[in-house]
Symmetry: C2
Subunit: 153 residues, 2 copies
């Protein structure tokens, strides 16, 4: 028995080709889905930040900026816009007056969930042409991607 090791991983060439195709498909998919968000009248950065607040609860300013992979001045303006629209509220930390806690208002939560519903419904309207077999392949792949994203870097 000379074969002691299975080729568990793909060649570099194949990996690159897969990366390329995945990248392109993701770009084109999102470009279409994102158009649905315009109906909310709120920009993408604001929706994305609001989404973090709605799904992971209250966050300090700094943690929100980190979660959005954005520099503090950018988040500062995004938060100010959200506040002007009464989609979030800000409270000052009792123990450290420098820290601000940001949380979604009920109006913000409502707006986000409606937008999300619209976006997902739109995507689902296209996915419904898939067979159950195709859909389960899709789900399996998203499992893989989720793991990849969790362990990123």
């Amino acid at each position: 028995m000379t074969k002691v090791k299975e080729t568990k991983f793909a060649s570099r060439r194949e990996t690159i080709a897969a990366a390329d195709r995945l990248h392109s498909a993701a770009i084109h998919l999102l470009r279409r889905v994102r158009k649905q968000d315009e109906a909310s009248g709120v920009g993408p950065a604001q929706l994305s930040a609001l989404s973090v607040l709605v799904f992971s609860g209250s966050k300090t300013f700094g943690k929100l900026a980190a979660a959005e992979q954005v520099k503090p001045p950018t988040m500062s303006r995004v938060v100010a816009s959200l506040r002007r629209r009464r989609l979030i509220e800000i409270t000052i930390d009792l123990h450290d007056a420098r820290c601000k806690h940001i949380q979604a208002t009920s109006k913000g939560t409502r707006l986000l969930q409606q937008g999300r519903k619209r976006r997902i419904r739109y995507l689902a309207d296209h996915l419904k042409t898939l067979t159950t077999s195709e859909l389960s392949k899709l789900n399996a792949t998203v499992d893989i991607l989720d793991r990849l994203l969790r362990d990123w870097r």
Copy 2:
């Protein structure tokens, strides 16, 4: 025999759940990959337009705007920036002086392909932790998505 029809398609609930997960994974994946493009010193709209020109050849202004799903004034500025950087060239149509044909210069082609290489290499560096079995699942799913995107709407 009462069962006359197979349930070829998934329930609405399952479809919505899949759409939601796909959407979220695509957002997070692209957010990471897009960071790699900053190294090129050219913004995302410009890179995307340049990419169309490099891979599908010369385009008239209007077709480029349509391909990028963007309004004419937006494309006007994008093209002007690309031109200032000598990444594209513009020629006037001989038969219709209103029409402008936009094409990538060799500098533009080079810049795009380097950026693309960097981006794809980065993504591939993460995909290489996948087994061949996982990679082929991924490829199968991208096939499905490509078809979906081609027949969109």
